[in-house]
């Protein structure tokens, strides 16, 4: 099964520090130790696990599917997805920040809503929220998302957009719905597919 996996710089697993071998070399975990199986992402899981490098991986043997990831006792790197780079990361963070703005607009007072409508510049979004005085909750999230897109990175920005969706909508379902939008954004630009 073809799936996706985020790794830290140098093809290192972000949580265990495991250095992945070159593409093509299989890595195995004990089949009877499901807690030690190798994790990977379906297309829809990708926004949850952002890191520096995105790889296409092949899983072999049984595949356990859970809510936000899949796991298998055997896997190998196939190829690094070069499209996931700092430039696309910044574009994605910006898109998530603008999504946060769009989600918030119906919940804002008219003056602030008018000030933010159609504004695509992230600095201008932050400035508009600051000018409005102590921001209501939704506007605070919008400013936070824009600030993070400018100065922190896509993982935090996309999470803030999902948090805003969760607060404005019906909790976890709205959070996951926003993640689904993010998954589509990434899949369209990176050519990600759900593989079998």
């Amino acid at each position: 099964m073809i799936a996706y996996k985020f790794l830290s710089r140098g093809a290192v697993a972000p949580f265990t520090g495991f250095p992945w071998p070159d593409p093509g070399a299989w890595v195995s975990a004990r089949v009877d130790r499901e807690d030690a199986w190798i994790h990977a992402c379906r297309r829809g899981d990708v926004p949850y696990w952002l890191d520096e490098e995105l790889w296409r991986v092949e899983l072999a043997g049984p595949v356990r599917e859970t809510r936000y990831q899949i796991a298998s006792p055997r896997a190998r790197l196939v190829e690094r997805i070069a499209g996931w780079d700092p430039s696309l990361g910044r574009a994605y963070a910006g898109a998530c920040a603008l999504r946060a703005r769009d989600l918030a607009l119906p919940h804002l007072a008219p003056a602030l809503r008018d000030a933010l409508t159609g504004v695509a510049d992230l600095e201008a979004i932050v400035a508009a929220v600051n000018r409005a005085g102590p921001p209501p909750l939704a506007a605070a999230y919008v400013s936070d998302a824009a600030n993070n897109a400018l100065h922190v990175g896509p993982a935090t920005t996309s999470y803030i957009a999902c948090m805003l969706a969760s607060r404005l909508g019906d909790g976890l379902a709205a959070f996951e719905s926003e993640r689904a939008w993010q998954s589509r954004w990434l899949a369209e630009r990176l050519g990600l597919r759900d593989g079998r």
Binding site: P14, Y48, W49, L50, T66, R67, Y68, T156, G171, F175
Partner: protein, 90 residues
């Protein structure tokens, strides 16, 4: 569908679970929630890495490896703490 607002942990919850995480004692669901948090929270990522280093270093310590003067200073500090003297200088 659960009504939980987000799928992961808060920073406070993560701090409470860090030892279990590093010792491999979390359930699969809790481990997923723990690692979901780490993907976007640089502060917690740093904290977990520091705790990992502390545990690795502490795991190498044995009673015999502690210098006598350090052992005496620690024992004096613990005795003072037990008497209600707080955590002042040993």
């Amino acid at each position: 569908m659960t009504t939980r607002p987000v799928p992961d942990l808060t920073c406070k919850e993560l701090v409470e679970l860090v030892t279990d995480y590093l010792e491999g004692r979390l359930s699969a669901d809790d481990r997923t929630r723990f690692e979901l948090h780490l993907t976007y929270c640089d502060w917690c990522r740093t904290y977990v890495e520091q705790m990992r280093q502390v545990l690795a270093a502490a795991g190498e310590l044995t009673e015999a490896s502690v210098a006598p003067e350090a052992r005496d200073a620690l024992l004096a500090a613990f005795r003072g703490w037990k008497r209600g003297g707080g955590g002042g200088e040993p």
